[in-house]
């Protein structure tokens, strides 16, 4: 892995992604946890750019930093416990061992089969643009059914969430 813009970007975004992830699971303060989550997801958006999917990166920032962060912060403020939760963690050691084991299994199971394969030189030069995605989304041989199902899902989520969260007494 020689030193160039992409590898520098990869290292920087890895630090963002993993550091943010650690921040999320370790901070006691949920507001700071949200900010850490956004740092982590910003790193993921950076990966998308490195992987030539800038549209997904922009959408990632729009959806997570623009909307989900705000929503989580609103929820944190709404559910602030009067009695602070004393202990941060439960079952800390078993959880740690379990997730470490999972990480090792994933690492071994995922990297060994593809190690060396898919050399960087063989990846396609030409990548799909947003226009290709748009055409495929509404193509009857493409993704038109999932496209409409996504709309149904969002509608259901919005109606359901409003129904649950609405305060009838107010």
């Amino acid at each position: 892995m020689e030193l160039n813009a992409i590898s520098i970007g990869f290292v920087v975004f890895s630090i963002f992604t993993l550091g943010g992830g650690f921040g999320v699971v370790t901070t006691r303060n949920l507001f700071q946890g949200t900010i850490w989550l956004m740092v982590s997801l910003f790193g993921v958006a950076g990966y998308f750019i490195l992987l030539s999917a800038p549209f997904l990166a922009a959408v990632q920032i729009l959806v997570y930093i623009g909307a989900i962060a705000i929503l989580i912060i609103f929820a944190v403020m709404l559910t602030r416990s009067v009695a602070r939760i004393k202990e941060r963690y439960i079952r800390i050691l078993p959880s740690f061992i379990a997730s470490l084991a999972l990480f090792l299994i994933l690492l071994l199971g995922v990297t060994i089969p593809i190690f060396g394969a898919h050399s960087p030189e063989s990846i396609p030069e030409y990548v799909a643009s947003t226009r290709n995605l748009g055409t495929a989304l509404v193509d009857e041989n493409g993704f038109v059914v999932p496209f409409l199902l996504a709309s149904v899902l969002l509608t259901a989520a919005m109606i359901g969430a409003i129904f649950i969260a609405r305060d009838e007494n107010a």
Binding site: L62, A67, L71, G134, T135, L148, L154, T155, M158
Partner: protein, 120 residues
């Protein structure tokens, strides 16, 4: 310039953009007077002692607005590609996009009828 060089430009811009506002703040840090005292650096509350915690309870309406915004924002994931491909698509493609928007409008209509859009 290829695609990644463009993003290198944006990345460099993103690194430098916070530096511009940071410069005057750092300069101010060099020159400004420093006379802190307990009263000055206490939390502002119209001159009286702060009562209780900062974290007052908020109304659920904030969450509802955030929620509706989230759904419409996520909708953009599909609507932007749809708009970009608009000129090339057939009537079928337009109808699919129309249905997509129409379903979401239903949800907005539901919220309206349930008075979830009122500030209360």
């Amino acid at each position: 310039m290829n695609v990644l060089n463009e993003w290198a430009f944006v990345g460099l811009f993103a690194v430098l953009a916070p530096v511009f506002p940071a410069l005057p703040i750092v300069i101010a840090w060099l020159f400004r007077p420093r006379k802190p005292n307990v009263l000055k650096s206490s939390t502002y509350e119209c001159g009286v002692e702060t009562i209780g915690d900062t974290w007052v309870q908020f109304r659920v309406q904030y969450y509802i607005y955030g929620l509706i915004f989230l759904v419409f924002d996520v909708e953009m994931v599909f609507l932007f590609p749809w708009a970009v491909a608009y000129n090339e698509m057939s009537l079928f493609g337009f109808v699919a996009g129309f249905l997509f928007i129409f379903l979401l409008t239903d949800a907005l209509f539901y919220a309206w009828k349930k008075n979830a859009l009122d500030w209360k």
